[in-house]
Symmetry: C2
Subunit: 238 residues, 2 copies
């Protein structure tokens, strides 16, 4: 009997959690260019008393918007190379450390990503993100399957894997954030603005840089709309 | 003047640290098959009061050998797939969490790896691990450049990168452990036993499985010798 009883109690706790208004969100963004418009939009302040270990380049901005505590983290500049610490390892570490320190109700991983010409909404993802049917409908956003890799360009082997799994968007952090969120049982959603068509004619790096400013503005707007939508709602209403 | 003064003090602290006998080592191993011989060899006990967050599959074994506190961590079985959590993300997370919780003096990442027929000891690595000239000489171990990737098989693009960087050994965790160790300023060394010749004639998976038992025994022996060598020494004597 005991395991049954415990199981039911746990289910009730989860249900109650889903019905409590969301009070704290953690936004994970890999690039400074992508992060700053969101920081400015919500007038977030940089952390002066860091929650992260001494010496790491990770940066936290925080503030209150309506009834939401917003924490935004980006992995900062690589200490050796001086460039944004993009990729899965930095993303997984900063997400892990931020969940441990801040205990958010919901994670939003936002960023730019590459898109594929063939857009297929069907198929089963390897990892299901938190389902947000109302949010998608209200804000008129597209749902897609995300593939994550540590390379900006795509090798033929990567492409074959992505196509075989019906992914329509490719980024460099999403799966790492999803892995950590799943490990620590925090619901997570992913907002990706498409910078370039990976299987199109132009080289990825060129198209990426040409479109980055415009796409970052679109990303900024989408994140703002999502945060507005979340404010005052509980998880089960998303 | 102040920055100079601070710099000198810090240098002195680092030097003193290097002259203190090593008292605590953290061994990071990705696969259970690789970990258990080391656990048995040093009669390590599984942690009953976990230092890691609730729900994560990470496992810690610990014990005392001569004057060394030994902690051994492996990322455990994937909660969804039931297989060993190999790869860079698990390795970086468990290394990060273990450093935070256990504050080791030295990290040893041990494991099996693929090797390359062309063995070249020259060239400059992207990330320099902690230098151990005495240890290499005493134990008659070979030094090499390690390349890390999340795939057991090697795509032609990966091979080109590895060859261009003169790497002679390929694993799936080393660079992730090195990244975190560097971030948190803990010296790290890497012991890799070669399971298969990546650029040889046999398929990697087949050769890997055939050789795993023999290579794991060699790894076990090398780790035991290294731990014996470290015991009673300070970092600058390695």
């Amino acid at each position: 009997m005991a395991p049954h009883g415990e199981g039911s109690e746990e289910a009730m706790v989860v249900q109650d959690e889903n019905r409590k208004p969301i009070s704290s969100i953690l936004i994970v963004i890999a690039m400074q260019t992508e992060a700053m418009p969101v920081v400015n939009k919500f007038q977030l302040k940089e952390d002066l008393d860091p929650v992260f270990p001494k010496g790491v380049p990770w940066v936290r901005y925080h503030g209150i918007y309506k009834d939401l505590h917003i924490n935004l983290v980006w992995p900062g500049k690589d200490l050796t190379l001086g460039v944004d610490s993009v990729g899965t390892i930095s993303a997984s570490l900063v997400t892990y450390a931020a969940i441990q320190a801040l205990q958010p109700d919901l994670i939003i991983n936002a960023g730019t990503a590459g898109g594929f010409k063939v857009f297929d909404l069907y198929g089963v993802g390897l990892r299901q993100c938190f389902s947000t049917p109302n949010l998608l409908k209200e804000l008129n956003l597209k749902a897609g399957k995300l593939s994550t890799g540590d390379s900006l360009d795509m090798s033929p082997q990567d492409e074959a894997s992505i196509v075989a799994n019906d992914a329509t968007v490719k980024d460099m952090e999403g799966a790492a954030v999803a892995y950590v969120a799943d490990l620590l049982k925090v619901p997570a959603i992913f907002i990706k603005a498409v910078t370039d068509i990976v299987d199109g004619d132009k080289p990825t790096a060129e198209e990426f840089l040409q479109n980055l400013a415009a796409v970052t503005a679109a990303l900024d707007q989408a994140v703002a709309q999502v945060v507005d939508f979340i404010s005052g709602k509980c998880l089960s209403e998303l």
